[in-house]
């Protein structure tokens, strides 16, 4: 009897454990594939291929194909010192944050100034922010322009403290992720990275 109970528990634990780990691995894989394909799609629209040898019909079909791409990122966020390169989507919904970073609703937009708020998962793409330091370069590439910000400060705030999300007169960037970086469940705080615009 005891042997049967142990056998049942053993198989149940192994099966459920394997299932959970597979789910986590699949979610990570989906995020990475989504990140890479979104960056490739964005770069294809920003840097149009050499069409000098293409037929007019092929050029027309290519342009038509660009207009039907759904849910493409608005920009690419890069922090070269941390090796971070992620697409930035229009919202910070769960789906978008699984595939990159997302704009924080109600804050500034890329290209348009104000306080550009971007959120990312602390257990995903934004975990590297734990190593960010003042003076490092943050790039936002949109279809119109490449913007450069410099990190001026980092801070840890309570999740209810909305001051970092307030509008600013000059262009700034605010990256938001949960804190502590290694924490099981809903983290009680937020890690904030603030950067100012670098005029060129």
């Amino acid at each position: 009897m005891r042997e049967r109970i142990f056998a049942a528990l053993q198989y149940a634990c192994l099966a459920t454990g394997a299932l959970l780990i597979s789910m986590v691995a699949l979610a990570r894989l989906d995020g990475e594939v989504g990140r890479q394909s979104a960056i490739a799609s964005f770069e294809a629209t920003v840097r149009a291929p050499d069409q000098s040898l293409w037929s007019p019909e092929r050029v027309k079909d290519y342009e038509a194909s660009l207009s039907i791409v759904k849910d493409e990122p608005l920009a690419i966020l890069r922090i070269p010192d941390l090796g971070l390169e992620v697409p930035v989507y229009a919202t910070s919904s769960e789906l978008h944050l699984n595939r990159g970073a997302g704009l924080i609703e109600g804050m500034g937009l890329p290209d348009k100034g104000g306080n550009l708020g971007i959120a990312g998962h602390r257990d995903g793409f934004f975990r590297v922010l734990k190593d960010i330091a003042p003076g490092e370069r943050i790039e936002i590439e949109t279809k119109n322009r490449r913007h450069v910000f410099r990190v001026v400060s980092t801070e840890i705030v309570e999740a209810t403290d909305l001051r970092p999300l307030a509008d600013t007169a000059d262009p700034t960037i605010t990256l938001v992720t949960c804190y502590p970086f290694y924490f099981l469940g809903h983290a009680p705080q937020r890690f904030i990275v603030r950067g100012t615009y670098e005029w060129t």
Binding site: F6, Q10, S92, R190
Partner: protein, 193 residues
């Protein structure tokens, strides 16, 4: 030390004089009203050219775009020393096309950091952005004596984004379950058949 300061002063004066001398003659000839000089104290040095439209003179200056909406652009005019003025709001029409580095650019495609050409009325304090269509009528936005108000330090969003996933928790539970499964297998092997 004193000689260095004196020498520095002479060099600065020479550089300023040289920069002023390089300005188009029109910029040196144009007469600004007291009101315009009060709003733009550095306008003489910032002036790149003077154009005449409908019998009125306008100083041509360069400005950095710091904020853009479909109806209003906020710019900082570049001074001759590279510094920027306080932000100035300029009204635009949504269907307008601005001249940015010689390229016609729709309002929705302008981006912060771009250098715009602006016209400043030399008699009434007003500013307009250079349009792609040079023949289009120039609508000036009056420049108030006080600078643009700073945005309120209040977030327009109701809450911080949720940036944690249950994945680390699920992964941890998964590993714990695998360890338990291995433990049960060990116990089964040790127990007598």
């Amino acid at each position: 030390m004193k000689s260095f300061v004196t020498l520095g002063g002479i060099v600065l004066a020479l550089v300023s004089a040289a920069a002023f001398a390089q300005q188009p003659a029109a910029c040196q000839r144009v007469v600004y009203s007291a009101e315009v000089l009060a709003r733009f104290p550095n306008i003489k040095a910032a002036c790149l050219d003077v154009i005449n439209k409908d019998g009125k003179d306008y100083a041509v200056v360069k400005a950095n775009l710091v904020r853009a909406t479909s109806r209003k652009m906020t710019v900082r005019v570049k001074r001759s020393d590279g510094t920027l003025t306080d932000p100035i709001g300029v009204n635009v029409a949504p269907n307008e096309r601005l001249n940015i580095n010689g390229k016609p650019t729709a309002i929705q495609d302008v981006a912060i950091g771009q250098e715009l050409t602006a016209y400043i009325n030399v008699t009434d304090p007003g500013i307009a952005l250079a349009q792609a269509d040079e023949a289009a009528p120039v609508e000036f936005t009056p420049v108030p004596a006080a600078p643009e108000p700073e945005p309120a330090a209040v977030a327009s969003t109701a809450e911080m984004p949720k940036t944690a996933t249950p994945l680390p928790l699920l992964g941890t539970i998964g590993f714990v379950l695998l360890a338990l499964g291995a433990g049960f297998a060990f116990l089964r092997r040790r127990s007598p058949a």
